[in-house]
């Protein structure tokens, strides 16, 4: 940049040996997977890794740039996935040709009306009501109206489930859902951030964990909207599907789309990081008090960072769900997958976008490969155990092998936090003389 301060020393521009070595190792690993697992499988893995890289970029903004810990990544992913599903799935004619859309619309109007009424009640003090009376009226009104509206909603949704299964999609191209998914995740992130960002950092973690659970509970139990545990599939792709191009080629085309998205996000983030906005954001992270003393609006910047990260998570989640071609609310495991993304970010280097992408691909490969590996290991142990001690193997070995992976991820995070908190590719900080 030309506007560099005269007294700042650029990080000694060195040959990026570390980066090259790490990415070369990653390439070797990918080629190894290709050699062992075959083209179609490996390409699928890469697409998923790319989607996770988008999520990881979202989290690296929040954690690396802003020092905010979002424990509910999966909630935002699920929101994105939900939008991808609802926008791209074909229109359900049974639903739209019945009188149900009208009824649902009426109920939604009631919801809006109830909201307006309660909001009006909270303003009664302007008409001269005493405050306690206003509060009392508002609360009683809210409770009664809530009960009325919710029982109407229950009726209509039960009707929808009985007659039409679920409301169906909008039949639009998948990318519309991705955009709206990002926006929706951003809106939810705005509300959470607005409440929690001014408080202790722990509260954000608790609240995001909570919102993720609630989003999941909602998506899982709203059969009329998402078919719940029955899942929705297949979801159309924004690119030609496997039936047109064959598995490998179709996945490769999808991969190119996600790669373009990553490149665009990467470029924009790189620009923002070195722009005044990025400097300010890092200043706030590193020393909040002096940043505030310089007149920076800390909470506003924090909110921007948080919402931006949530938007990326929504988009990444939408891309991931579309690719998997199935919307299964139970598949979003709040803690486990959130942690997978967090490990990607911390291992790669929080605040370093390149490191984050490296971390995302590397960790995802480890994660995917650890399943057959863990199973193989357990079978080996069981075989040895049976052979030499004659003990009986416990059942459901597969599900137990899965638990071993959860343990490993937890161990990995604590170890990385302790020994390499800055990751393999640490954020570059320019120093001043």
């Amino acid at each position: 940049m030309t506007t560099q301060r005269p007294d700042s020393v650029a990080t000694p521009s060195r040959f990026p040996l570390r980066e090259l070595a790490l990415f070369a190792a990653l390439l070797v690993a990918i080629l190894g997977v290709y050699a062992v697992m075959g083209m179609a499988y490996s390409t699928r893995m890469l697409v998923e890794a790319a989607c996770y890289a988008i999520l990881a970029l979202g989290l690296t903004i929040q954690w690396g740039y802003g020092g905010q810990f979002n424990a509910g990544v999966m909630g935002f992913v699920a929101l994105g996935g939900f939008c991808a599903m609802i926008f791209s799935v074909p229109v359900n004619d049974t639903f739209w040709q019945s009188e149900l859309p009208g009824e649902l619309g009426v109920v939604l109007l009631y919801v809006v009306a109830a909201g307006v009424l309660v909001f009006g009640a909270t303003r009664l003090d302007r008409l001269g009501f005493p405050r306690w009376l206003r509060t009392l009226i508002a609360i009683v009104l809210a409770v009664v109206l809530y009960l009325v509206v919710i029982s109407m909603l229950r009726e209509v949704t039960a009707e929808i489930e009985a007659q039409a299964g679920f409301v169906g999609g909008l039949g639009l191209p998948a990318w519309t859902g991705w955009i709206v998914g990002g926006a929706l995740a951003g809106v939810v992130g705005y509300f959470i951030g607005h409440i929690c960002l001014g408080l202790r950092s722990d509260y954000l973690a608790i609240a995001t964990l909570g919102i993720a659970e609630i989003i999941k509970a909602f998506l899982k139990n709203s059969d009329w909207l998402t078919r719940g545990t029955a899942t929705v599939s297949p979801l159309p792709w924004p690119t030609p599907g496997p039936s047109d191009l064959g598995f490998t080629l179709a996945r490769a085309v999808y991969l190119s789309i996600t790669a373009v998205m990553i490149a665009a996000i990467f470029f924009l983030l790189h620009r923002a990081y070195h722009a005044p906005w990025g400097r300010m954001v890092r200043a706030i992270r590193d020393n909040e008090i002096s940043a505030a003393a310089m007149g920076k609006d800390i909470n506003r910047r924090r909110l921007e960072i948080f919402v931006l990260g949530c938007i990326l998570m929504g988009i990444g989640g939408a891309a991931l769900t579309s690719f998997n071609s199935i919307f299964d609310p139970q598949g979003f495991l709040p803690l486990n997958h959130t942690f997978l993304v967090l490990v990607m970010v911390i291992l790669g280097g929080p605040g370093n976008n390149l490191g984050t992408i490296f971390g995302a691909v590397a960790v995802y490969i480890i994660w995917i490969m650890s399943e057959p590996l863990a199973l193989w290991l357990m079978e080996l142990i069981v075989a040895i155990g049976e052979g030499s001690f004659g003990w009986e193997a416990p059942g459901n070995l597969e599900s137990r092998a899965l638990q071993a992976r959860v343990f490993v991820i937890g161990l990995l995070i604590t170890v990385v936090l302790r020994f390499a908190p800055k990751g393999l590719l640490p954020e570059k900080v320019s120093h001043h003389r």
């Binding site: 020092g67 810990f69 424990a71 809530y146 009960l147 919710i150 029982s151 229950r154 409440i195 929690c196 408080l199 202790r200 950092s201 722990d202 509260y203 973690a205 608790i206 609240a207 964990l209 909570g210 919102i211 659970e213 609630i214 509970a217 909602f218 899982k220 139990n221 803690l335 486990n336 942690f339 967090l342 911390i346 416990p394 059942g395 459901n396 599900s399 137990r400 638990q403 071993a404 992976r405 959860v406 343990f407 490993v408 991820i409 937890g410 161990l411 990995l412 995070i413 604590t414 936090l417 302790r418 908190p421």
Partner: protein, 333 residues
């Protein structure tokens, strides 16, 4: 009157049960917070671990309960508490202490504790499998039915044995904690360290000892809550999933770092949950003749049981908006 009994069974008793469990859990969270200044996310999994230890011990010594006339799991509870306390201290030594020594921000400790959560979850499921198991292995759960001395009241008030034990233990825990914190030398030192860690050090208080004592207490309480919850329903490895948000909500409602507040917060959250899923139209039934039929038939529950988790979250958000220090002023926002 039958409706009133129904209300007592489904709200008063059920609310007290969940409230007690949340309260005991939230005390641990709040104590850890006030001494180490971070939200300990692995706490709910410590509760699960305690319950799992009780389950294992019950399976090993199935006859122990019959000797004293209590459920075996209760007889084994002190041992389970000891094991959980040991685990808590061990986890602190292995994972939290090095982070503390580095002087990391509290949020990094939070992430570390989430890592511990995953490890505990993985371990527990690895050994217990993923299904639910009853803590009553060779025994039968005793159920007390108290008939009310009124005419035309057919339904009795129902309390189970583990619920009675839970109430007794909750009272014992609360009183014990109070005496410990206000009378004993270590308890006062704990409060002193929560007030002003630097001055505590300058007074010659060995802060490592206090940290260890905190983990022992928190671990023991976690084992009590986990075991009694598992006795009341069943042991499930994903118990923590249903506990984490409520106990944090309880601790924050009560004012973080405020043990008595955590007790109050636990009951607030517990009762709020049961009240929210209670179908209020049942209470309208006695007046069914004078009310329109649709009202009496309607489902007047605020949320379905599947959305129970919304309740602690809603309480959490409300308290963060209006009074982030909690109903009793907590220390740190």
């Amino acid at each position: 009157m039958n409706e009133l009994v129904f209300f007592i069974n489904n709200v008063v008793i059920a609310g007290s049960v969940t409230g007690s469990i949340y309260a005991i859990g939230a005390i641990g969270v709040t104590l850890i917070f006030s001494i180490m200044r971070f939200a300990h996310f692995a706490h709910a999994d410590m509760m699960t671990f305690g319950a799992f230890m009780a389950l294992l011990l019950t399976a090993i010594f199935p006859g122990a309960g019959a000797l004293v006339g209590l459920p075996t799991a209760i007889v084994m509870l002190p041992l389970a508490m000891l094991l959980t306390s040991a685990l808590a201290v061990g986890i602190d030594r292995a994972f939290y202490k090095p982070l503390r020594a580095h002087g990391v921000k509290p949020i990094v400790m939070v992430i570390g504790s989430l890592g511990v959560t995953l490890m505990l979850q993985g371990l527990i499921r690895l050994f217990s499998g993923t299904g639910g198991q009853s803590l009553y292995i060779d025994e039968r759960k005793e159920i007390f039915r108290l008939a009310l001395p009124f005419e035309n009241v057919r339904a009795p008030i129902v309390v189970t044995e583990p619920q009675v034990i839970l109430f007794v233990l909750t009272v014992v825990c609360v009183l014990g904690l109070h005496v410990f914190l206000s009378r004993s030398r270590l308890g006062k030192a704990m409060r002193a360290m929560s007030d002003n860690p630097d001055l505590a050090r300058a007074s010659g208080i060995n802060t490592n000892t206090i940290v260890a004592v905190t983990w022992v207490i928190a671990g023991g309480l976690a084992a009590i809550a986990g075991t009694l919850l598992s006795l009341d329903v069943t042991f499930k490895p994903d118990l923590s999933f249903f506990l984490l948000l409520p106990i944090f909500a309880a601790a924050i409602v009560g004012g973080v770092g405020h043990p008595y507040g955590a007790i109050a917060g636990g009951f607030v959250v517990g009762f709020a949950e049961t009240l929210a899923v209670f179908n209020w139209s049942i209470l309208l039934r006695p007046f069914g003749d004078s009310l329109p039929e649709w009202l009496v038939q309607a489902n007047l529950a605020f949320v379905g049981t599947e959305y129970k988790i919304v309740v602690p979250f809603f309480i959490l958000v409300a308290i963060l908006i209006w009074r982030p220090t909690g109903i009793f002023k907590g220390k740190v926002i």
